[in-house]
């Protein structure tokens, strides 16, 4: 350890004092700069909640209506604010209700610290009331977890949890604290964690990998950039733009990369993946050098891995070594942080332009416009389409809103037709595909970024998975705007049934409640529109409403999302209609 770190650590050591473990939890959070927590109380975490009662001036605790709501809200908060989301739940069902959100945060690299209560340590393993092995259950879906059984372990465990959750490739950490550890006293002092000897979150970028990448880029005739959420997580939006502009390379986004680079930039060529744009998919199999930045070659991006970019040299800039060569064999791996890597790489590449090659993407755009987009955003039928709503919303808000989506057709329409023009403006459940994510995540996003206009776009199916969180909006007057695209179907599953299962619509049609009455019962203003000519006016009153407001749009029942790369097929076999 060098002296500067020593000094730093010494400075941060507080005077010691005797307090309970429960209070220590809150003091640790305050030390970490946490002022917002999402949670739900219960027996095994009551000591912490009792201490929380006296911390109202320092910590704003948001009571959800279900622990899944709390954790998705914490995820939305973390992704909108760039801070660590914190979540409290009790033992047993409280803890197990967090699991979906933890798994979601793990696969989408969201920094969370979850604190769960646990039965007293003498009861561990005895099937006590509300006992569950949350350490065992959460192990595969946490970046790190730890069980605290005595009060004095609390400060170190929480300090490590924060450090691990937010450093490197972020992810969820869970600390399970037995009730006796919350009740016992400890001699409290707090030191923030800066180092864990077995954990090295920032690999040193190898100079030779940068040089090899630059060499490939400099001689490429048809280079192509694909960027993912790694750019957002590392705050490398500016660095990405610099590389793109210096090299003149066309760039496309993954689902989670959306908004890291303005869709209005002339070198932005669209979004890739199963329902992505035509050009970005087919050109993957025509480019000569593919530069993948902060993304993980998910199967929804690659389709058939054997044909994916098989003709191209692949450069992969990625922080997590385990992602390199996992799905796609790469020629040059730059293992390190995206911001650092992009800065260094931009120095080594030549100023260039690829006008003819970029034009090929635009040619694809014209084909997609003709065959797919026109029909979607300017439909002939009487019913409003999802694509049309998102397109008009994008124009209405000038691409400046923070969009939170759920999972399914509306999600794909939002990612296709919302033209993002601000960084950190797209939050969705990408990897896990968690229906029910949107409403609580949008609430958390609004709390994390109160200055932004936050719009949650959700289907009628997903909305009903976590609609109880309307209670949270009501209680805390969270000014989030919710848009339900109601087709009375589990639309994406229905689309697959139509295309791949002979239209056998097995359990995908839904009888829904009156969403307007339901929302109004929570004292949240709500309006419904089904007539195209009234859509713009509806936007005006919905988004013009002070505070929360919900808009339900009745949309075409059997609209499909195209283009589409059928699951597991080659990306160049993308279907336009």
């Amino acid at each position: 350890m060098n002296t500067s770190t020593l000094e730093l650590e010494e400075k941060e050591v507080n005077e010691t004092e005797m307090i309970t473990g429960a209070e220590a939890v809150l003091k640790c959070l305050v030390e970490e700069g946490i002022d917002t927590i999402f949670g739900y109380p219960g027996g095994a975490i009551m000591p912490v909640y009792d201490s929380l009662y006296g911390y109202a001036d320092k910590i704003n605790h948001i009571l959800s209506r279900h622990e899944q709501g709390a954790i998705h809200a914490a995820q939305g908060y973390a992704r909108a604010s760039g801070r660590v989301g914190v979540c409290f739940a009790t033992s047993g069902p409280g803890a197990t209700n967090l699991i979906t959100g933890i798994a979601d945060a793990m696969i989408d690299s969201t920094p969370l610290v979850c604190i769960t209560g646990q039965v007293a340590s003498h009861l561990l393993g005895s099937d006590a009331f509300q006992e569950t092995d949350v350490i065992g259950i959460s192990m595969p879906v946490t970046k790190w977890n730890f069980q605290v059984t005595s009060a004095e372990e609390i400060p170190k465990a929480i300090a490590q949890a924060f450090y691990i959750a937010k450093s490197g490739r972020p992810g969820p950490a869970l600390i399970d604290i037995t009730k006796n550890a919350q009740q016992e006293e400890l001699d409290f002092s707090y030191t923030r964690c800066h180092r864990v000897r077995s954990y090295h979150p920032y690999p040193e970028i190898k100079e030779e990998s940068l040089r090899a990448a630059a060499k490939l880029i400099n001689k490429a005739k048809k280079p192509y950039i694909l960027f993912g959420q790694g750019v957002t997580l590392s705050g490398a939006e500016e660095e990405l733009k610099n590389l793109i502009e210096k090299t003149g390379i066309p760039a496309a986004s993954t689902l989670l990369g959306l908004s890291a680079f303005s869709t209005k930039h002339p070198l932005y060529v669209g979004y890739t993946g199963m329902h992505g744009n035509y050009g970005p998919n087919v050109k993957t199999n025509e480019c000569d050098v593919l530069i993948a930045i902060g993304m993980r070659f998910d199967d929804r991006v690659t389709g058939d891995v054997n044909t994916y970019a098989a003709q191209a040299k692949v450069i992969h800039i990625e922080l997590d070594l385990a992602e390199i060569n996992k799905n796609i064999k790469v020629d040059v791996a730059i293992n390190g942080d995206a911001k650092q890597a992009l800065q260094a790489l931009t120095q080594l590449v030549n100023q260039n332009s690829h006008e003819g090659w970029v034009e090929e993407f635009h040619e694809c755009d014209r084909i997609e416009m003709e065959k797919t987009i026109k029909k979607s955003i300017d439909p002939e039928g009487a019913q409003i389409t999802m694509a049309e709503v998102v397109h008009k919303l994008s124009v209405f808000t000038k691409g400046k809103s923070l969009i939170v989506t759920d999972v399914g057709q509306h999600q794909m329409m939002a990612s296709r037709y919302y033209k993002f023009d601000e960084p950190k403006s797209h939050i969705t459940s990408g990897g896990l595909g968690t229906m029910g994510f949107c409403l609580p995540a949008a609430i958390g996003a609004k709390i994390g970024a109160p200055e932004r206009q936050v719009i949650g776009i959700v289907g009628d199916g997903g909305f009903q998975m976590t609609l109880q969180e309307l209670g949270l909006i009501m209680q805390y007057n969270v000014g989030v705007k919710i848009l339900i695209l109601n087709n009375e179907f589990l639309g994406m599953v229905r689309q697959w049934q139509q295309l791949f299962f002979d239209r056998r619509y097995s359990f995908t049609e839904m009888q829904n409640p009156d969403f307007i009455k339901l929302t109004e019962s929570y004292n949240i203003p709500a309006l419904q529109v089904s007539d195209r000519s009234k859509l713009e006016d509806a936007f005006k009153s919905w988004l013009g409403t002070e505070g929360p407001c919900l808009l339900e749009v009745i949309v075409e029942k059997e609209e499909n999302v195209f283009p589409m790369v059928p699951s597991g097929s080659c990306v160049s076999k993308i279907r336009l209609e």
């Binding site: 350490i135 065992g136 192990m139 077995s198 090295h200 690999p203 070594l321 385990a322 996992k326």
Partner: protein
Amino acid sequence: MKQKEYTISILTEDKPGLLNKITIIFNRRKINIASLNVSTTEVAGVSRYTLVVSLTPEEVEKIIKQIRRVVEVLGSFYYEEDEIYYREIALYKFSIDTYKNNNELEQLIRNHGAKVMATEEDQVVIEKTGTKQETHELYNAFQPFDLMEFVRSGRIALSKSKRRTEAFIHELETSTSNTLSIKEF
């Protein structure tokens, strides 16, 4: 691609729950662990896990990298047979009557470099250290003689590398990034 037998060696912090954190990485991919041993090392607070698995070269690399992602893992490495010194130990139990009535058993023990570990009033336990193949050969030889019980340990292995664990840990403590390749240790 063809599977090979690999010995995986993992250095970790000596913490509860780690065995589970490591084995779930294999479970996820439905990989059968042929043998597993957990041991202390010459460095206090550091454990060594030794596993034997059959995998393709691609699979083993992916697994090693995913194991490294576990926060408490200090290092994980994989070896082929010629890169390590390794042994297993086997115990074989006979009733005292079987042992006394079959003179060939003593012969077999000598020929196979085994030894009598314990002699009780009613039973005898034979111990044999060697490779899996060697302990298995002795098992086959003992089979006709009413063998009461047989057990074999997991493989333990040391790499042929000259690096010391302590130096490796020291390197981790002082550097900001883990630059060791997965084949290096």
